[in-house]
């Protein structure tokens, strides 16, 4: 297993290297010039920037160097733990990520918790009651969950809160350790909306796997020996049926880290997605590039962790 882990970790290097080139090139070939974006604002009457001003600012921001030089500078910085600074605020990108990450992590953890707590019992119920009304109900709800875009539900929920209850959550975000009540109130709605989609995937997966396991010989033997239904399902069948769900949760974690952008906007949550959107809008290259690299590293790490946990849980799996 150690050998496998080292091999996977070594694979990180070329993957991240290729990703870094792609991210860097894509950002730079996009039309637009951050120096011009900073200096030329039609919102501010009287601000008239000359081409000379724009050139000077470009030099100040380190954008006058050739692309390879800029790229190498960025990578060199990353290797020594310096992710650079925002072109707009000159704040270190690490500081921006450090500030936003806990917010998105809160939302992600809540979503995964709700999805697991909802999907496993529902999926099991649907499998056990196959082709009866609980199964139909679960399937209908999960199809709806998969087919309905999260942002649309979010807008409907917000509208419902406003029109019916004349209430929306406070626009101020507090961490769980600062104000648990406010934190839960603000994050409950987006977490519930996001978890509907993810629990739909999981519930369908649990149902399908459980149905397959329930048809296995060892389960049939257990039934024929006269064991009660509940222990067979809970102790023997469900445990095995849940293994693939673990992989799914890993994928969900990575999807949620980068996939909460719109909901963060709608519910006014200052997370990573919100930072990414703002940085892209402003062509703030260091912030965008480093955030994308962060997402990639996170995805690779989570995938590796899931694989390793999978092996620990399922002794039948051995790493080559």
């Amino acid at each position: 297993m150690w050998k496998y882990m080292v091999k996977r970790l070594l694979l990180f290097v070329p993957t991240l290297a290729i990703a870094s080139v792609l991210v860097f090139v894509v950002m730079r070939v996009l039309p637009g010039d951050v120096a011009r974006a900073i200096l030329v604002s039609r919102e501010t009457p009287g601000v008239i920037a000359s081409e000379n001003d724009i050139r000077q600012l470009r030099e100040q921001l380190g954008l006058a160097d050739s692309l390879p030089v800029q790229y190498l500078g960025w990578v060199r910085g990353l290797l020594v733990g310096n992710a650079g600074v925002s072109l707009y605020t000159r704040r270190p990108v690490a500081e921006i990520i450090g500030e936003r990450l806990p917010v998105t992590l809160h939302l992600t953890v809540y979503t995964v918790l709700i999805s697991v707590l909802v999907s496993v019992p529902l999926g099991a119920l649907a499998a056990v009651k196959q082709d009866r009304w609980p199964d139909h109900l679960v399937r209908l709800s999960t199809i709806l969950g998969l087919a309905t875009p999260g942002f649309w539900i979010a807008l409907l929920v917000l509208l419902l809160l406003v029109v019916v209850f004349r209430w929306v959550p406070s626009p101020v975000y507090y961490h769980l350790w600062e104000d648990p009540k406010e934190n839960l109130i603000l994050l409950a709605f987006p977490a519930l909306i996001l978890s509907w989609r993810f629990s739909s995937y999981q519930a369908r997966m649990v149902r399908a796997n459980l149905l397959e396991v329930l048809r296995q010989d060892y389960i049939r033997t257990a039934f024929s020996k006269g064991l009660a239904d509940r222990p067979i399902v809970m102790r023997h069948a469900l445990r095995n049926a849940l293994l693939p769900v673990l992989t799914l949760i890993g994928g969900e974690l990575t999807a949620l880290m980068s996939g909460t952008v719109i909901l963060e906007n709608i519910f006014n949550i200052p997370g990573l997605g919100d930072a990414l959107i703002n940085a892209m809008r402003q062509r703030d290259y260091p912030v965008v590039e480093n955030l994308l690299m962060f997402y990639m590293t996170f995805t690779l790490t989570i995938n590796l962790v899931v694989d390793l946990v999978y092996a620990v849980i399922n002794p039948r799996i051995r790493f080559a």
Binding site: P31, G32, R36, T44, E99, L161, R166, P171
Partner: protein
């Protein structure tokens, strides 16, 4: 019995008379209360919406209302734009000033009781440092407003409360530019000199304004509290202001609609739309107040190197053809006006555009004339061209495309982001472009129309006689000091640009709406520039009834 009845009746009448008299007295007292000016009630926290994060704290590096709106209250300025007429100036930190006859030398007298928020006195030395910093920003520090500072040749400190500014060249518009809301004093000499922060978010919020910095939760809240040592006794009335960061316009509206905001924020895209206003009126009735101003006007601008646009008849035809009333309906949901440059309410707005061919509601005669002009110019069957368009402004450009089809003009869009648009515009790499203009003074008009502005309305016309005339007219008008003459010239320039030469085609000017709850009093609205009158020292909250 009857005597008793009579007595009762008399008594009743007397009683009714007394009641009536009291009622009448009460009524008249109530009327008097209503008619009398309300006495400001101190205290309370005002809650305001703010578009996105105000994460740049150095006013020299602000370029957006996003940063400015919440931070205006921290930092005062030497002089500020007047109220309600924002084309005038009035003292802020400065009590009075004298101007030399050649408009080159200004002697300013500061108020005597000004202190920075950290308790240190504010003196002429701070102004001297501010001007030096503005003229020569330290390495790595940007000054977006250095044009104003570049005009100052010398600043002489006479004493702690008096200083003299000498300009490179006298100019009537200098004080107006100095009073720009962006020229804020946020750089205490005792905190900055020798230890200049490199980060634009690193200014430590120490100003002299009516409110002091309290806390900033990035992405959520920027909060200020009353400055008890503010140099104007009795102000501010509020105990504090909370600016809520809203990432999304719909969320901003929901916050206002549910009473979480007392005042909606200023910023393009964040103003109340016609449908939102309708909802608010229906749901909140007289509990909300609305006011509007004209923020920016949309213009279709031409590049004369593209053949048809060099022809005056084509440009005039477009001006005549454009159905501006329809543009207001389609683009602005009915909230807008069809004008030239100066918006209604601006002292220099003089032309009654509702009667001008091309701007007036009745289109038949104007459209027939437009077709005749096109045929005369040799474009009977029209022509095609490309409109360079900022990605966020496509709704305006798309309307232009649709409207001009009837004139035989087949326009298409080249959608790009703002930096690209600005670059292409400055390099003259466009056939037509949709852009915005804003302002209430000749100086602001000069900023938009002088060909020296590389991204201005007439940048592509540089070197052409039509534009040279505009440059000359603007230069001559802005050199004048007589208000009546300036007013006359302003009218002439508008006439020349829009009607005689049709150098650009105004589309419409949206009327933007801000909403606030009924108990908010003393809030000041601008005529046209959203960055003006954001200060809240006069605002107070009436007890909710």
């Amino acid at each position: 019995m009857s005597g008793t009845r009579v007595a009762c009746s008399r008594g009743r009448r007397a009683f009714l008379l007394v009641v009536w008299l009291f009622a009448a007295m009460g009524l008249s007292q109530a009327e008097l209360v209503v008619a009398a000016p309300e006495k400001p009630e101190p205290g309370g926290i005002l809650r305001v919406g703010n578009r996105r994060d105000p994460d740049v704290s150095d006013p020299m590096q602000w370029s957006s209302i996003t940063y400015a709106q919440p931070q205006y209250n921290l930092y005062s300025q030497l002089i500020r734009r007047g109220y309600p007429d924002e084309t005038t100036v009035e003292g802020d930190l400065v009590e009075r000033w004298e101007t030399s006859s050649d408009l080159r030398t200004y002697t300013f007298h500061l108020r005597k009781n000004i202190r920075w928020h950290d308790g240190k006195p504010f003196t002429s030395r701070d102004v001297e440092y501010w001007v030096q910093r503005g003229k020569n920003p330290p390495t790595g520090v940007l000054n977006l407003f250095k044009a104003t500072f570049a005009e100052i040749a010398n600043l002489q400190v006479i004493d702690d409360h008096t200083f003299r500014m000498t300009l490179v060249k006298g100019r009537p518009g200098f004080l107006f530019d100095l009073a720009s809301p962006y020229n804020r004093m946020a750089h205490p000499r005792h905190l900055f000199e020798g230890k200049e922060p490199q980060r634009p978010d690193a200014v430590n919020y120490v100003g002299t304004g009516p409110f002091k910095f309290k806390r900033y939760r990035r992405g959520s809240l920027f909060e200020v509290e009353k400055n008890p040592d503010y140099f104007v006794p009795g102000l501010p009335y509020l105990d504090g202001i909370q600016y809520f960061v809203t990432q999304d316009a719909a969320t901003h509206f929901s916050l206002f609609r549910t009473g979480r905001l007392d005042l909606s924020g200023r910023a393009a895209g964040w103003y109340m739309t016609a449908s939102q206003i309708e909802i608010l009126k229906k749901e909140m009735g007289d509990r909300i107040k609305l006011s509007s101003f004209y923020n920016v006007g949309w213009h279709l601008i031409y590049n004369p190197t593209f053949g048809p646009f060099a022809d005056l008849r084509v440009r005039k035809a477009i001006n005549l053809w454009m159905n501006r009333q329809e543009a207001i309906r389609a683009i602005e949901e009915g909230l807008g006006v069809a004008i030239g440059f100066f918006p209604p309410g601006a002292p220099l707005a003089q032309i009654d555009w509702s009667r001008i061919p091309g701007w007036r509601a009745s289109k038949d005669a104007d459209r027939a004339e437009a077709k005749r002009l096109m045929a005369e110019a040799g474009y009977k069957d029209g022509f095609g061209f490309v409109i360079l368009t900022r990605d966020l402004w496509t709704r305006v450009s798309e309307w232009v495309v649709g409207d001009l089809k009837g004139l035989g003009i087949n326009a298409s869009l080249d959608v790009v982001d703002q930096p690209t648009r600005s670059k292409r515009n400055s390099e003259g790499r466009f056939q037509a472009d949709v852009t915005t203009v804003t302002g209430v003074t000749l100086e602001q008009m000069q900023g938009d129309f002088h060909t020296s502005n590389t991204t201005g309305i007439l940048s592509a016309w540089k070197g052409r006689p039509e534009a040279a005339n505009v440059d000359k007219m603007l230069e001559a008008a802005t050199a004048l000091t007589d208000p009546a003459e300036r007013r006359r010239r302003a009218r002439d320039i508008e006439q020349h640009i829009y009607l005689d030469q049709a150098l650009t085609a105004p589309i419409d000017t949206p009327q933007v709406y801000q909403a606030w709850l009924e108990h908010v009093r003393g809030y000041r609205q601008p005529i046209a520039d959203q960055s003006v009158h954001n200060e809240m020292q006069w605002v107070w909250l009436a007890k909710k009834r």
